[in-house]
């Protein structure tokens, strides 16, 4: 008796066993993934204000388009793919398992009809003797045979690489292993960021979720440097880092070099060279137009200071030698930007060795104050990406399984040979799981040599 509930479960099972669903899921994932490559992902929605109307932003946000690879519907598709994969495997595996572990060792007439490679050899010798010589031929030319007897008829069966039938399932298993690895990574790992000034020691990092995380050790940046190719392109960004435990340097992790493509790994946490900057200070003397009231002024990079008269300034660039940029001039110079209270701003260069130019600039632009540059002090900082991912080994295991599985699924075939020895007649049959044409040649060749072998025996 079938109940409606059972029918429903049955059709649900059939639905998930269907390869049409596989096609649908693979193609849908391909098409849907395009969205996230067009709409930049993982940046705050306010950033889109310039390009999209508020209504669109609201719509996209509710659909999860700004972080679509983590949206419920994308994850749902991945889960459906997994269920589909498992269901298909459960449905087909028992049959394949039978083929692999319980081979058909007798060449019945109906099996013979289903084979695409068959041949017969006439032979009037005693079947037992013939059987033995065929068996030893198959053993040396193909693989270890299994011999059975039924009603005076001998059956010889031999096969090569039957396990490769399972490789497709191995590939599918590898997809699931990769999923498991990535889930472990997202549950128990983290990604973060840390900036360290030269000479500074830090033991906290900032996570992507904007929470702080305390490391149980500390990092000190001993030095940061940038080297360049002769054409000015960057060649290397290098941080020299020392790991400290309880304030003491750890041997083997003292003055270690961290460059792009060569991270620092300590206690399962990895630090990657990612960015850098200058947090140094620039020094100025500010005077009236006539040189009176000199005031010393230090401006930190990336911040601004207030000047007498209500204006504020910050430094956009500085150099220790201006001569390559301004022929005829020499010494340090800084490019500054000055904002006046009425919203106007101007950008100009002040010099250390050319006070007259600084005064001239102030005069032509109003009443002062006059800025004189006194040089700067560099203080580099390094930006390190921090990551811990305990699932990554499982992901690599899955990848390895996938590569071997795909190789075996495509390039290794399960080949079988059957021989039936009756009085006066030998029947040979063979089949392969793939690459039929190559096997047909091998088969014909084998039969030819078997014929010769039998004649020689006589």
């Amino acid at each position: 008796m079938t109940t409606p509930k059972k029918d429903f479960l049955h059709s649900l099972w059939d639905f998930f066993c269907s390869l049409k669903l596989t096609m649908f899921l693979l193609i849908s994932l391909a098409v849907i993934s395009i969205i996230g490559t067009i709409i930049p992902q993982g940046i705050p929605p306010q950033k889109y204000l310039a390009e999209l109307s508020p209504a669109k932003i609201k719509l996209y946000k509710s659909l999860g388009f700004f972080d679509m690879y983590h949206s419920w519907w994308f994850i749902l598709l991945l889960y459906m793919l997994t269920v589909n994969l498992v269901a298909c495997s459960i449905k087909r595996l028992p049959h394949i398992w039978q083929i692999v572990t319980k081979p058909v060792t007798t060449l019945t007439v109906s099996l013979e009809r289903s084979l695409s490679n068959t041949a017969t050899i006439a032979c009037s010798d005693e079947t037992i003797k013939v059987k033995d010589s065929i068996a030893s031929f198959i053993k040396s030319e193909f693989s270890e045979p299994t011999i059975t007897e039924a009603d005076g008829v001998w059956h010889i069966f031999a096969q090569k690489t039957p396990w490769c039938r399972l490789s497709v399932y191995f590939v599918h298993l590898s997809v699931i292993v990769i999923f498991i690895g990535s889930i472990i990574g997202s549950l128990f790992g983290y990604k973060g960021f840390v900036n360290i000034l030269e000479g500074e020691t830090v033991s906290k990092i900032m996570l992507r979720s904007e929470k702080e995380l305390d490391l149980d050790f500390a990092l000190r940046l001993d030095q940061f440097s940038v080297s360049k190719y002769p054409n000015g392109a960057p060649k290397e960004f290098k941080s020299i880092i020392t790991v400290l435990e309880n304030g003491k340097p750890v041997p083997d992790y003292t003055n270690t070099r961290v460059i792009v493509n060569d991270p620092l790994n300590y206690k399962g946490i990895t630090f990657y060279q990612s960015s850098y900057g200058n947090a140094g200070s620039y020094f100025f003397i500010v005077t009236d137009l006539d040189g009176g009231n000199p005031v010393k002024l230090a401006v930190e990079s990336q911040s601004s200071v207030n000047l007498p008269g209500g204006t504020s300034m910050h430094v956009t660039d500085a150099t220790n030698d201006v001569s390559p940029f301004a022929p005829g001039l020499s010494g340090p110079a800084a490019q500054v930007e000055v904002h006046s209270p009425d919203g106007k701003s101007e950008s100009f260069v002040v010099y250390a060795n050319h006070p007259e130019l600084n005064i001239q600039h102030a005069k032509t632009h109003g009443t002062g104050p006059v800025l004189h540059y006194k040089g700067g002090k560099d203080l580099m900082y390094t930006g390190l990406q921090v990551a811990k991912d305990p699932g990554v080994e499982i992901v690599w295991l899955g990848c390895l399984m996938m590569v071997f599985g795909i190789y075996a699924a495509f390039f290794i075939s399960h080949r079988r040979i059957w021989v039936r020895v009756e009085h006066g007649k030998i029947t040979v049959g063979g089949n392969t799981s793939k690459n039929q044409s190559a096997f047909a040649l091998t088969f014909d060749n084998l039969v030819e040599r078997l014929k010769k072998d039998l004649i020689k025996e006589k």
Binding site: T22, P263, D389, V403
Partner: protein, 284 residues
């Protein structure tokens, strides 16, 4: 002899080879087909030498690195892999005429590289200074090239299928008589993808391994990564199409063509139209 002259010779050889393949289609003269394939092989030889020479030249300049570091070098390498995969297929299956549908891709690549791209040898930016670059680029491009060949074969399949009018009888005479039978084309398409799919899989994995080593995340849904996954999904669908009734023949050929279009977008479109981590030679 320098690499730049040899690259020009290569381009010329691919042009002549392509024209010879067209002539072979039209004339059905076996000698023409042999000439076409021999010219393609000499082009491949010239290009192999040129790539090796360019590698050496970069060391002479003191910025030594494998010639896979910018758009020009990658397009040249792509073109090389296409002819290489075609040569392997030709040696194994001997269906010369496929050259008429594959050599145009190789020629297009070389012509664009030689005429339209900046050919100078540049030093490697820090982001690319890794041996992973070599493994990643070589596996990806061999995969892409196999897909290019599969695409050429699929186009032949669709042309032939259209002219056969769905029937099984072979059309007599005309250009199409040179085409391999429709079943063979279908099979060759599958075989080319059987070469390409494992290579693309390896390419994605080596890319992930590199990203994990250099940035700490093996996958960050960057547009290039995502597009490589899109391509991978399309070809996975193609492979499963064989097992599903109703998705073979023409539909499979279309999947192969769509797959190659996605491949090209992944390779070039992403850099031209979308922003991400992969912009060739972009560096910091």
């Amino acid at each position: 002899m320098n690499s730049s002259l040899l690259f020009n010779i290569t381009t010329f050889a691919y042009l002549i080879s392509m024209l010879a393949f067209f002539a072979f289609l039209a004339s059905r003269a076996k000698a023409v087909g042999t000439a076409a394939i021999l010219i393609a092989y000499s082009g491949l030889l010239a290009q192999t030498t040129a790539i090796a020479l360019r590698w050496k030249e970069s060391y002479d300049m003191g910025v030594g690195h494998a010639p896979l570091s910018n758009l020009y070098e990658s397009v040249v390498f792509f073109s090389w892999t296409i002819v290489l995969i075609f040569a392997l297929l030709d040696i194994k299956y001997k269906y010369r005429v496929i050259g008429a549908f594959v050599m145009p891709f190789a020629l297009l690549g070389m012509a664009w590289a030689q005429l339209g791209l900046h050919t100078g040898i540049e030093p490697l930016v820090p982001a690319l200074q890794s041996n992973w670059l070599l493994y990643h680029v070589i596996t990806c491009f061999l995969g892409y090239a196999a897909f290019a060949v599969a695409c050429g074969i699929s186009i032949m399949y669709l042309i032939k299928a259209a002219s056969d009018g769905g029937g099984d009888k072979e059309s007599e005479g005309g250009l199409l008589s040179m085409f391999p039978p429709i079943r063979v084309l279908d099979d060759l398409n599958y075989r080319a993808i059987m070469i390409g799919f494992p290579l693309l899989t390896l390419g994605i994995i080596t890319g992930a391994a590199w990203a994990n080593y250099a940035w700490g995340t093996y996958w960050s849904w960057d547009p290039k990564e995502t597009w490589s996954l899109i391509v991978w999904f399309v070809y996975a669908a193609f492979l499963h199409a064989r097992i599903t009734k109703g998705w073979v023949g023409k539909r499979a050929a279309w999947l192969s063509i769509i797959g190659f279009a996605a491949t090209i977008f992944c390779y070039l479109g992403v850099n031209l139209f979308l922003s991400g981590l992969h912009s060739y030679g972009g560096g910091q």
